[in-house]
Amino acid sequence: MAKLRLMITKGNPIRYISHLDFAGTLERVVRRAKLPAAYSEGFNPHMKMAFASALAVGVTSEAEYMDLELTEELELDRLKEQIVSQLPEGIELKAAQYVHQPSKALMALVNLAVYEIVVPLLNDAAWDVIENSVQNFNSEVEVIYTKQTPKGRRELDIKEYLAEPAVAKPLQDNPHQVSINLAIKIMPNGSIKPVEVLAALIENFGMPVDKNAALIHRSGLFITDGKVRRSPLEVQ
């Protein structure tokens, strides 16, 4: 038995697939690549694969992590080659390495997600309005956001989940677009979605941007002690 950890991307061509679809796609990649994947026992055997953190429909990422259990430890370069040859458009393999057991589940390790949101200004709104709303947002101790779930309404304090102040700046090659950087904690009791932070910025702090046209990108997933950020590939 061996555990393989992959760092992969979810690119623009597959931006609109769900986490479940992303996982299903990778399962088929693994089977096409003929990796010696391990399966669970029982009538409905499933491939032993696990992800660090689910990505929402519409969100891209350059740093997704997936653990895959194999029945034997094959040579890494050959494995990578086999995987790469079967990846659909929109998924790139950035790195692969064996994780020496025993190790904690990816989901239990990762505790910080970093996002970049690119969103157009509404009607060419003035830049200082954007700056103001971000400043006001950052200076609040508590920002309550009401989450609408199928189970009902739930109130969350967004600030509790933010590891750092939000940063907004004009996009270099297009000043009509704002780039917003967020560092969001993934805690044992859950997390908050970047789109929810954006909604709060718009609804509670009057940020003049077009939420529907926002492009959200996850630029990193980390394990942090509050000072140093390490990727799941650095921690074993």
Binding site: I14, R15, I17, G24, R31, R32, M47, D210, L215
Partner: protein, 619 residues
């Protein structure tokens, strides 16, 4: 031409399942578009998940894209939310591969799987900014072609379609692409009319504008006459003689999102000569032609390698009739078990099922079993020539229960010719006996019996094509009666909306007069008629009324066998005399044997189409 991104994130973030509209799937094909390349768009007038599940389109995608002179792309009906966004933002219907407008392609082909999808064809043409009526289109618009089972009665769509493919398309679709390729290379001499004249000379191609209706003094249709030299009086279907020699969908597109049939589809054979008298597919796909077991096993190897799927569904009209089924399943299970691959069989005939088969399939994964007795009494099963007895069902179900199954689905039809309330009661008692059987075998309750009842719609080219369909009220009365007769809590009952079956019935046996009704109804906003939440019965009835067309004339009316039928110029190879004989045999409740194992019933297919039954169990 560069690929363009037509749809903005602002739109895609608002619609349900946006990945329906973004493409890039594994095994989807892209080619460098140039002026000589034939641009073929394969379309299904239904949503992505339905269209992507159609085996015929998967095969044709591979057949066309194997040709260096052709590039086939796909388009499906946008769901209503996406349609609204597209109309608001003035986005034309685009292909999934290159995202270019469908209207910029040479030929747009729709698969006709059921009559209730016709309104979506008009809607998709309109979304593509292509005039829906063929007479209003010019040289700048693509040719519109339709194929699939419903093309065997093409007349209701004659106003909208330039040409129809009658029968199996693997070969002829390439011939059509070849005609267009040559025509484009030559600088499109004679315009699209030239292509139609060339195509009309190919076997299996029907160009409706080359024919006109002839009526008698009473206004009844008496003929469809060719008006051009190239038009044949009768268009005979295309049929593949040797299925081992044609392209199969071994490299199908693997979608990112879950579709209806999200697994490997393995077609074991084509055709079924059991001779059920209600069954249109049983006539259209005659004769039975099996693939060799070796061919099938090789296909599965390729399919597993190319897709990464771990589930194989054996699809054929009656898969359990495959002569080498048991060795095939054994081979598939042994060979692919390591990779966690499972095999599933859709609907089973009750007589060809065995304990052995049940256990074989069960080895990897167990799902519910489906049987189709079709009618509740032996008398009615004899009328429809469903050659199974209650004894057969009892044996099959007992075997299934003993082997560990507890979920059984039973398919029935109501509204069949000669049906009485006794036959309806027979459905309830048959279901009850199945539920009781479980208790007998297992010594406890716990069976789950699902009774699914559809309303019979008489179809062209069948022995029942002369039968007057039951009225909506009569079907609803029978549904209610059945409901009242099922009392056991382990039996659940589901049925179809009688009104959709009535509309389906009118279009199934309709003629050209229905074109104006379809146009009017679409203008009034009908679409996705097969989806109950979108079905607008009143809008349809208003359209019939406004056009002065009586739907009952087509659906409800009993026809005499000497009446000219609107599909008589389109031949499935089965003689009218054979169908008349079968229609009479139905009234007399006499059985006609399967010509594949018994003597030839002289339906005419093998003789007239120069094709043979292929059965590897007997050779």
């Amino acid at each position: 031409m560069h690929p363009i991104n037509t749809v903005s994130p602002a739109i895609l973030s608002k619609v349900l399942k946006p990945a329906r509209y973004t493409g890039h799937e594994w095994n989807s094909v892209n080619k460098d578009v140039n002026a000589d390349l034939v641009s073929f768009v394969l379309a299904m007038p239904d949503v992505y998940e339905v269209g992507m599940s159609n085996l015929g389109l998967k095969i044709l995608y591979q057949v066309l894209n194997n040709r260096p002179d052709t590039f086939a792309e796909r388009v499906y009906a946008p769901w209503v939310d996406m349609e609204a966004e597209m109309r608001a933002a003035n986005i034309r219907l685009y292909t999934l591969e290159t995202k270019r407008p469908v209207s910029s392609c040479d030929i747009l082909g729709f698969s006709l799987q059921y009559e209730l999808s016709y309104s979506n064809i008009l809607n998709m043409l309109d979304l593509a900014a292509i005039p829906v009526e063929s007479t209003k289109r010019d040289e700048s618009h693509p040719l519109v072609v339709c194929g699939g089972p419903c093309a065997f009665n093409a007349e209701p769509l004659a106003d909208f379609v330039d040409l129809f493919i009658i029968g199996e398309a693997e070969e002829v679709i390439g011939e059509v692409a070849g005609v267009i390729a040559e025509w484009k290379k030559a600088g499109k001499p004679g315009g699209k009319a030239h292509v139609l004249r060339q195509a009309a000379q190919l076997q299996g191609i029907y160009v409706p504008s080359f024919y006109e209706e002839e009526h008698n003094a009473a206004g009844r249709l008496i003929a469809l006459r060719p008006t051009q030299n190239e038009a044949k009086p009768v268009i005979v279907k295309r049929v593949i003689k040797d299925l081992d020699q044609v392209t199969f969908a071994t490299k199908p597109i693997v979608p990112f999102i879950e579709i209806v049939h999200d697994r490997i589809m393995l077609e074991l054979f084509r055709g079924c000569t059991r001779g059920c008298r209600f069954c249109q597919a049983g006539v259209l796909y005659r004769p039975v032609r099996e693939r060799k077991m070796d061919t099938l096993v090789n296909y599965v190897q390729e399919l597993v390698d190319n897709t990464g799927y771990n589930e194989i569904s054996l699809v054929s009209l009656s898969s359990a009739d495959y002569s080498c089924l048991s060795p095939l399943i054994t081979e598939l299970i042994t060979r692919f078990k390591q990779q966690g691959v499972s095999v599933s069989l859709p609907s089973l005939r009750v007589d060809s099922f065995s304990i052995e088969l049940a256990k074989q399939v069960q080895q990897v994964r167990k799902s519910g079993l489906t049987f189709a007795p079709e009618a509740g009494t032996q008398r009615l099963r004899d009328v429809i020539n469903k050659g199974v007895t209650e004894e057969d069902l009892t044996q099959a179900v007992s075997a299934a229960f003993s082997a560990g199954w507890s979920t059984i689905k039973l398919y029935f039809m109501i509204g069949l010719p000669t049906e009485t309330d006794e036959d309806i009661a027979g459905i309830a008692s048959l279901a009850q006996r199945v539920a009781d059987l479980y208790k007998q075998i297992k010594g406890r309750r716990g069976a789950k019996v699902t009774v699914s009842v559809s309303s019979f719609v008489p179809k062209p080219h069948t022995a029942f094509q002369w039968f007057g369909q039951n009225s909506v009220e009569e079907i609803e009365r029978k549904q209610k009666l059945l409901r009242s007769l099922i009392k056991d809590r382990s039996i659940s009952l589901s049925w179809h909306d009688a009104r959709t079956s009535f509309l389906e019935g009118a279009f199934a046996r309709g003629d050209r007069s229905l074109g104006k009704v379809l146009l009017r109804a679409w203008q009034q906003g009908v679409k996705f008629d097969g989806w109950s939440e979108h079905f607008k019965y009143d809008a349809w009835m208003e359209a019939f009324d406004a056009c002065g067309v009586d739907p009952e004339f087509y659906a409800r009316r009993h026809r005499e066998t000497d009446e000219f039928l609107p599909w008589e110029h389109l031949s499935a190879g089965v003689n009218k005399a054979f169908l008349v004989k079968e229609w009479q045999a139905a009234q007399q409740e006499t059985f006609t044997a399967d010509c594949r194992h018994d003597s030839c019933g002289v339906c005419g297919v093998c003789q007239d189409l120069d094709v043979d039954i292929v059965d590897w169990g007997q050779k």
